[in-house]
């Protein structure tokens, strides 16, 4: 079984500032890790994923995340945010064999002008 904890429920930030959204997970098996974004009144869109290889993963819209196995973390970062990044962000994991996605509770990122 897996579980995901997103440490911040809300993150307010000013435009062009850097941001980090934190995600920790626990699992008894190897996992794949994902970040999804949900814009208001829209579905879940994949931002990036870690399957294997380099622990630094780059995604869409300038986001990146780093997998840290020893700390069981997969924090999402962006060096300079835009107003349009305002959305809810979900970290998710699944086992490397067939299995469901387990989501964190989400972090609402609000970018202020």
């Amino acid at each position: 079984a897996q579980s995901v904890t997103q440490l911040d429920s809300q993150v307010p930030v000013f435009e062009e500032a850097p941001v980090e959204l934190r995600c920790n997970y626990s699992s008894s098996v190897s996992v794949y890790l994902f970040w999804y974004v949900q814009y208001p009144n829209q579905g879940l869109q994949l931002l990036l994923k870690y399957l294997s290889g380099s622990t630094l993963v780059k995604g869409i819209n300038g986001f990146e995340a780093e997998f840290n196995k020893s700390q069981t973390s997969f924090h999402l970062r962006k060096p300079s945010v835009h107003i349009s990044d305002t959305a809810e962000y979900f970290c998710a994991v699944r086992g490397t064999s067939y299995g469901k996605l387990t989501f964190g509770q989400g972090t609402i990122l609000t970018v202020h002008p």
Binding site: G43, K100, G104
Partner: protein, 117 residues
């Protein structure tokens, strides 16, 4: 880019009524899923479906719920007798598969907001 399509986008129903939520997954995908998100809570797994049968389900997915792929393109979630606590956003998703050379990220639909009154 291929999309997962869900209809309707919003449905209001009376408690005790049956509802069917519809999804059209991406055409070459083999695995289909339903998730739900109660307002302010986590996105929760409900059920996965492969090869015309349920492959995994959560404890939420009780006898009131059923899934079907009636015609090879649609994938439906039926709730037989809705309760107030079934009010949520329901997401359909599909994926190509689970082998290591395939993409593991699911493609989600935009969701159906179900309101039970």
């Amino acid at each position: 880019e291929p999309e997962v399509t869900q209809t309707p986008s919003h449905q209001v129903t009376q408690m005790g009524q049956e509802v069917i939520l519809r999804c059209v997954p991406i055409s070459n995908h083999l695995y289909f899923y339903w998730y739900r998100q109660i307002l302010g809570q986590k996105v929760e797994f409900l059920v996965s479906f492969y090869n015309n049968e349920i492959s995994e389900k959560s404890e939420i997915f009780d006898d009131q719920f059923s899934v079907e792929r009636p015609d090879g393109s649609n994938f439906t979630l039926k709730i037989r007798s809705t309760k107030l606590e079934d009010s949520a956003m329901y997401f359909c998703a599909s994926s190509e598969g689970v082998r290591q050379d395939l993409t593991y990220g699911y493609t989600f639909g935009s969701g159906t907001r179900l309101t039970v009154v």
